[in-house]
Every structure is written in structure tokens, then in C-alpha cells.
């Protein structure tokens, strides 16, 4: 269990080894919403939860890979909504402790060919399921409305359907289960959560 419940901005910055202004920027952009933000007079005091620290760690990793802020905000939104939905079913659920637990599902974020967002879930070396296929570029340009994307992209990418790895071929070996053609970024949220030094 994590002993600490709250971190101030300066503590969070030290914990993550990042300058405070980067964390402030991410808060001001609405990417990370402090769980214990307290407005005081003309100023405000941001206080962060362990969940916020995980969000920052994921965001900073994605930003390191030069993903745009809005893309990162969308990813963090999914993680938050996902945690809320699981907590609706499992009392007391909290994502960071769950991910740090033994036999925790491996939750990954995949950016395929610089424009398609997927998440994948699996345990150990077993089969993984792939979710999503949201095209950020089309969303950004308004070419496809989100409702259309849900129908055409998510459904066509068989959301929730088990991914079966096909026999190896040069193209498939590179592309991962989502079938990236030229480039893919894959980040393990579970691994990031496990590596946060929260127990010290």
C-alpha cells in the first residue's frame, strides 16, 4: 500500500524529476486534473494524488515521444474514465494500486502510424485484446465525426475482440496486433505504475 496520499506541486516535481513549470503546464491544459486542488483566495494550491503521479508519468513519457498535448489529454481521459467505470463495479478500486499488484493486467497504449490510438489488455504472455483505433488526424480536421468513427473505426477494429497473432510474415512481425504499417509506439501503463517509487 502507498503510505502517502497527497503531494504538493514541488513534491510531485521532485518525485518525477521534472521542473514544476512542466507540471503546471499540463494542469493548465487540463491534461492532468489535480485530485486535491484547493482554491485559496486569489491563488490556488494544487495537491496531487498517487493517481495524478501515474498520470504525470504516463503523460511525460508520451510527451518525451513528442505526442501532441491533445492526444495525450485524450489518452489520460480514457484512463480516468476507465478507472471510474471499473470502480463502479468493484468497490474501492483504484487504478494505480491495481496495476502495481501481483498478476495485474498489462494495460498498454499503442499509437499506430502516428494517428491511430489503441489500448491493449492482457495478462502475462497470453493473448491480448485490442481496443480502439481512433484516428486523431480525422478528428482534428473534422473529416469524420466521432460517432462515425465509433461505428467505422472501433467496430471495424473489432473492439474487445481477442487478437490472434497470425503466422509471422515480414509485415506482421513489425506491425503488432493492430497492423501498423510504418511506425508504432507502445507504452505499458502497468510497467510505469509498477516502477513508480511510491512505497518508499
Amino acid at each position: 500500500m502507498t503510505a502517502r496520499q497527497e503531494w504538493t506541486l514541488s513534491e510531485a516535481a521532485r518525485f518525477l524529476a521534472e521542473p514544476q513549470h512542466r507540471l503546471i503546464y499540463l494542469c493548465e491544459k487540463g491534461v492532468v486534473v489535480p485530485d486535491f486542488a484547493i482554491a485559496k483566495g486569489r491563488g490556488s494550491s494544487r495537491r496531487f494524488s498517487a493517481r495524478n503521479l501515474l498520470e504525470f508519468a504516463v503523460v511525460l513519457k508520451l510527451r518525451e515521444l513528442t505526442l501532441p498535448v491533445d492526444t495525450v489529454a485524450a489518452i489520460i481521459h480514457v484512463l480516468r474514465a476507465f478507472e471510474t467505470k471499473v470502480a463502479d463495479e468493484i468497490k474501492g478500486f483504484d487504478l494505480i494500486h491495481s496495476l502495481r499488484g501481483k498478476n495485474a493486467p498489462d494495460l498498454r497504449i499503442i499509437i499506430s502510424d502516428g494517428r491511430l490510438l489503441y489500448f491493449s489488455l492482457g495478462v502475462g504472455a497470453g493473448d491480448r485484446k485490442l481496443f480502439g483505433g481512433i484516428d486523431f488526424h480525422n478528428l482534428a480536421t473534422g473529416k469524420i465525426k466521432p460517432t462515425t468513427i465509433r461505428k467505422e473505426k472501433i467496430a471495424s477494429n473489432e473492439i474487445g475482440k481477442e487478437v490472434t497473432r497470425k503466422p509471422a510474415s515480414p509485415a506482421l512481425e513489425f506491425g503488432g496486433p493492430e497492423g501498423s504499417k510504418h511506425a508504432r509506439i507502445e507504452i505499458s501503463v502497468t510497467r510505469i505504475a509498477k516502477d513508480l517509487p511510491l512505497d518508499g
Binding site: Y25, V69, A81, F82, V86, K102, I149
Partner: protein, 65 residues
């Protein structure tokens, strides 16, 4: 050199593309649907792990036989 409170706006990498879930309800709805599917699978995996994993004895350093 004075520390800046924000990243430079001229950096195209940080530009607001107008589909931030915080400001775009349609995008938020789409992402919530994705989160819902993820949550169902996560719960299924957690329940599966409970069935497969025998109870852990805390007096045994968390190891299972």
C-alpha cells in the same frame, strides 16, 4: 535565464488541435465508450486472475506454493 511557466506556444507540437476531451463533448463521448470497453475487459481479467491464483499467504512473503 528566467524559467518559463508554460511551454512555448510556437512549438507546433503543443498546439491545441480542438479535440481535447475537456472541451469537445463529442470526442469525450467517443473516448468514454472506449474506456467502457476497456473496463469490462479489465474486470474480466481481474476475476479470471482471482480464480486462477490461489490465496496468497501474507506470512509466507506473498509466495504461493
Amino acid at each position: 535565464m528566467r524559467a518559463k511557466a508554460v511551454e512555448p506556444a510556437r512549438n507546433p507540437d503543443v498546439s491545441n488541435q480542438g479535440w481535447n476531451p475537456a472541451t469537445n463533448p463529442a470526442v469525450r463521448e467517443l473516448l468514454d465508450h472506449l474506456a467502457d470497453e476497456l473496463a469490462k475487459e479489465y474486470i474480466r481479467l481481474m476475476k479470471q486472475a482471482e480464480k486462477v491464483t490461489p490465496a496468497i499467504d501474507p506470512n509466507d512473503g506473498g509466495h504461493r506454493k
